[in-house]
Symmetry: C2
Subunit: 389 residues, 2 copies
């Protein structure tokens, strides 16, 4: 029988426990298991935003050079790269995940071999809505056919898929699935939104060409923080993205020339980088780098394992993979009253996440979640279920 004292023992032995002090936590009574949707606020982010406001007001336009704002999308990308198993010059941080997916699927369509027929993009009907929507939009714009489903990749040119399922937390094997697509002649665009910052990723080792993801979940980059795009250096020279802006121009301030894209991932850039958002994203990313992604991922597996044990103990319907190598950073429980339970937990200051129609998500952001949090959340849910409406 797991109880609160078990959780407290685990917290006492947790090597990452002190990282929670790096975050602004105004009300310690709130149990926050939704860092997989919006990560908490790093204290360093508050300080960094003060600094950037001083740069803006004090150095004005010269900040673009004095404080290297011009290069911010790429320098923040370089800081993120080790968390993805990527190298310098392969990651840029900018715009929204939606725009990044749009760019990458278009890039993949150009990378895919010409087979003398309209190219085929495979996307699963169960994937996150934006991934499906973006592909639908591209199919309206270009001569592209959609394959609904990713089990059979025969005749597919581009695969867009999430590494971690946003509902069940199911994690597929990055290397195996990239290989399977490549053997079918397809280029895969990986959506790492639910993976970055909570899993050890090795994009290089797995032979990944293209990836995209968000920084506001496990990377604690702030609400609506800019997204990242990864382009393997192996394909840099063959990449042409669809949205051509002046930050992608080789010699940006030579205003009179035709478009001549930068070398490397810089050609993925569009317009003026969002300095405030990038400043916040950078601090979240740095925290994860400093804490160490191996330790973060190990704690993620332990927290989610602990959550699954609690779900079992309380008789809940767990839908998360039990193999720690096959799951991301949250635990999902299915219940027909998910909507009501989610709201009732909120009234008890237990904040979890919900996805229609019947999924409750317990997000376990390793730097800010304690075992006591996990115990309290599941115990509160069990208590609600034992209590008549």
């Amino acid at each position: 029988m797991i109880d609160r004292s078990t959780a407290l023992q685990l917290d006492a032995a947790d090597p990452l426990a002190s990282w929670r002090d790096e975050f602004v936590i105004p009300d310690p009574d709130v149990v926050y298991l939704d860092g997989n949707s919006l990560g908490r606020t790093p204290k360093r982010t508050v300080e960094a935003l003060h600094r950037v406001l001083d740069e803006w007001s004090g150095d004005l336009i010269t900040s673009w050079w004095e404080h290297d704002w011009l290069n911010l999308a790429l320098s923040v990308g370089d800081e993120l790269a080790p968390l993805l198993g990527a190298g310098p010059g392969e990651v840029a941080v900018h715009e929204s995940t939606t725009v990044g997916i749009f760019q990458q699927v278009n890039v993949a369509l150009d990378l895919a071999a010409d087979r003398g027929r309209p190219r085929v993009v495979a996307v699963d009907d169960g994937d996150f809505p934006t991934d499906r929507y973006v592909v639908e939009g591209i199919a309206r714009l270009r001569d592209v056919e959609i394959r609904h489903g990713i089990d059979d990749l025969d005749g597919v040119d581009v695969v867009l898929r999430s590494l971690v399922d946003y509902r069940t937390a199911e994690l597929v094997d990055l290397t195996d699935e990239t290989d399977r697509a490549r053997q079918a002649g397809a280029v895969t665009v990986w959506d790492l939104s639910h993976a970055a910052g909570v899993l050890v990723l090795d994009l290089h080792g797995a032979g990944v060409d293209l990836a995209v993801g968000c920084t506001y979940k496990f990377l604690n980059g702030g609400p609506g923080a800019p997204a990242f795009v990864y382009v393997s250096e192996r394909v840099h020279d063959r990449v042409t993205q669809p949205i051509w802006g002046w930050f992608a121009q080789h010699d940006q301030f030579a205003m009179e020339r035709p478009f001549d894209p930068r070398r490397g991932v810089g050609r993925m850039l569009n317009g003026t980088p969002p300095v405030l958002g990038l400043t916040a994203a950078r601090e979240g990313i740095r925290l994860s780098v400093d804490a160490g992604i191996d330790a973060i991922a190990a704690k993620g597996r332990a927290l989610t394992g602990f959550g699954i044990e609690l779900a079992d103990q309380f008789g809940l319907v767990n839908v998360t993979p039990r193999d720690p190598a096959r799951r991301g950073g949250h635990v999902a429980v299915r219940h027909p009253d998910a909507r009501r339970l989610h709201a009732a937990l909120g009234e008890r200051k237990v904040i979890i996440d919900r996805r229609d129609p019947d999924i409750l998500r317990f997000g376990m952001s390793p730097l800010t979640t304690s075992y006591a949090d996990v115990h309290e959340a599941f115990a509160a849910l069990a208590d609600l279920l034992a209590t008549p409406d």
Copy 2:
């Protein structure tokens, strides 16, 4: 002969003079005539960012509902609308100007009548690089031809053009030029980046269908602040933009459905809105609304007129239109040593702007620029020119 005392008299009579106190100005000795590139920092913005950091850390994921972050791209758009002569529900603020231009040109291509041949997009070779680059990128993606130049619109389907020339500040007539394009059967996408926040605009009155622009120049929205897109309600039902994300979805949290775009300008949205950037943009926009765009535009005409008089007095080569109804918010002077002069002025704490090959821009953001600033900048330039290297 205009001298410093003339400038001080004009400042004393300036009804907007006190608005300068609304901005963070750490060094009052800096003469800043580059607010047309990056506006100064409103004090309210600093306060608003503190508030939004408190919302994030305190209310966490629930802020999306509690503080209406979900609707921020549209609510900020509604606050901006009066400055554009637009109505509620016609403006959204999100992503970068580059992405906005990409969206709008694609929208315009769909709005344009089918004439049984590839559609033609006209853009001037002298327009801002991003506008040209985006069109080049679209022509690679879709079956589109580019017309280099906007004088002859015969056979043109879409026109992309800036209302104010980023070099000379030349302003064209919005109504006349929109009409001229329409009579040729073309839809115009107006880039208002150098116009919004310094000119009285009447998009409705001018019959404009589509426009885009940035908020970090005269609107003082912060470095890399999100852009705005305007879609006239007259064409709302016929608009399909190319980048389909979940914030454009009619019932966003019903995750299992095909893409079904929202009504109105909301269908232009892509991904999760950049909350920090939008918070800053909103405060800049509010300042202009509160000060009154009529007064702002009147001061802009007076400041630029004063600058042109000074340019004449000092024997400089002014290339800005002399008719106040035909110019935007900056004064441009041509000089073969522009690069050296720009740097030398910077060493004297006079910050202006420069564009290759030979243009010096004196930006006159009405809420933060005094007549004394304008006098000091031109006098410093004249002094430099009178001094041997």
